[in-house]
Amino acid sequence: MSFLELSDLRKTYGNVVALENFNLSVEKGEFISLLGPSGCGKTTTLQMIAGFTEPTSGRIVLGGRDLVSMPPAKRGLGIVFQSYALFPHLTAAENVAFGLEMRGIDRASREERVREALAMVGLKGYEDRYPRRMSGGQQQRVAVARALVIRPEILLLDEPLSNLDAKMREEMQSELLSIQRRLGTTTILVTHDQQEAMALSNRVVVMSKGRIEQIATPVEAYNNPASSFVASFLGKTNTLSGEIRGGTLVVGEFRAAVSGADGPVAVTLRPEKMRFDSTGLRGTVTARVFQGNCWSYQVQTAQGEVLVLRQNDGQPLPVEGDAVFLSWSPADMGLRREGLSHG
């Protein structure tokens, strides 16, 4: 049995199903991301693990203990909230010490552990600051220290980085990751940011409309999306319509040998896997945007608009208005028969 076992979780609000058929096993020390758009049920799941929401049915078992019947105060989980939820009337050190106080830990070792925790998140010297006097990033660090100082069995992160600016976010990501690796705390992150989920987690749980779409490592999910939803949510994806005729895939002027029965198929392709070639799918460059490390192209084809990403590696590249041919390696594409209607 795994460290944390969520089985057949279901949550309904009146007639609205917020979550169903949720099954997930988390190993000790794993970093798991619940990833999906808003309303996909990821926050509901986190709330149920934390104990703030009761599941309609299903079980949550942590290290052999049933969590569902346990009040949040007894679960011993560390939680970092989206709003940080620091106690505004307490200093940084008092905030961090709160959980230790509740556990009846004596003053001396409490102070020692608070100092350690604040130093760990890089807030040495901020002990006596009130949250109002700290930046968003600093408040975030206090929240992380407060959650980790109680040595929780699981660390729950509820969109913790969404209120930070891009630069801070990247910095906090790598710091979170190094802290998590060092402490080995089993961590569950809820996020709508696919880049964040892929950067941080061992496995991602992609969710949509209250259901799990795929549980896989980030690389697996990105390269072999289990559904068209996953393909479009994790990074950008081009979907082209093609046909298999006698072992040959035909997409416009593009030809490739494939195995499979004859008939129409949907071809999914990542923008960075497509290249400009001398033969292949014919198109015209309608726009290109410089993004520093790469160029992002919009190419109009008979199949519709196609997005192409090319490395800025000094090679000559087409400009707006150029007629181009698009090709790709058959190994990089996904073929789906049912996917046609999803576009």
Binding site: A50, G51, F52, P71, P72, A73, K74, R75, G76, L77, G78, I79, F81, Q82, S83, A85, L86, F87, P88, H89, F98, G99, M102, R103, Y130, R132, R133, R146, I150
Partner: protein
Amino acid sequence: MAEGRNPVAVASLLLPATLLFIAVLVIPLIMTVLLSFYSWGQYTGIVEDFTAENWIEVFTDPYFGEIFLRTLRISFLATLLAALFGAPEAYILKRMNPRWRGLFMLVILGPLLMSVVARTLGWALLFGGNNGVANQFLMGIGLIDAPLPFMFTETGVVIALAHVMMPFMVLSVWASLQRLDPQVENAARSLGASQFTVVRRVLLPQIMPGILSGSIIVFALSASAFATPAIIGGRRLKVASTLAYDEFLNTLDWPLGAAVAVLLLIGIVLIIVASNALVERRYAEVFR
């Protein structure tokens, strides 16, 4: 003054309000202060001289001291009662299902739509005599054996005042509850705090500014309240405001009444300024 503003325009925009303020507040106030230094005689009436005898009388006659002390005591107890009931009331209201919240908000704030006199007369009906509804109820549930005197007692005035002032306390605490991050309570619970600890260590400190500012409002209004102590307290149980009223309209000793009124005003202003400074210093670091 900000740069580029036309001082003439600023002055002329400020003028109407300033004139009104001077006309209806500053001048009457100065006149009242001056009045308190005039002398008064049974046969001479008000004499426009300058004497401190009213002030000496107010400060030396224990009759006045007792009344001012009673005013202070009643206002303080009414404030305490309003805070004790008003703060939990606001919290319950906040946690309430939105469907019911509107209705109960109306129930709490509704009395503000009614005249204080009407509300206080309602209390007089409840309190009135040994067979009053309040006493019959308390004896009926076995809480007391003999009827309690409510009318013309401080207890009665405090209860009625606390009720009359309750909406101000609820509104003030409500405002500070609105600023609360709802996740903070969850954070405390996840760290191992019991519900009681959450209220005591997390909730109460955060709404304390609201309770204190509500208390300042309730105290000031209670100390200067007239209708409630006049009806429930009657002529026997005087407070500063009813005392000033009696001096003006019954004894016709306007200068003495003015001295009482000015002293009441000074007392209230001092207490408010002091407690406000206290609140601001105590919570400046925490709440901007």
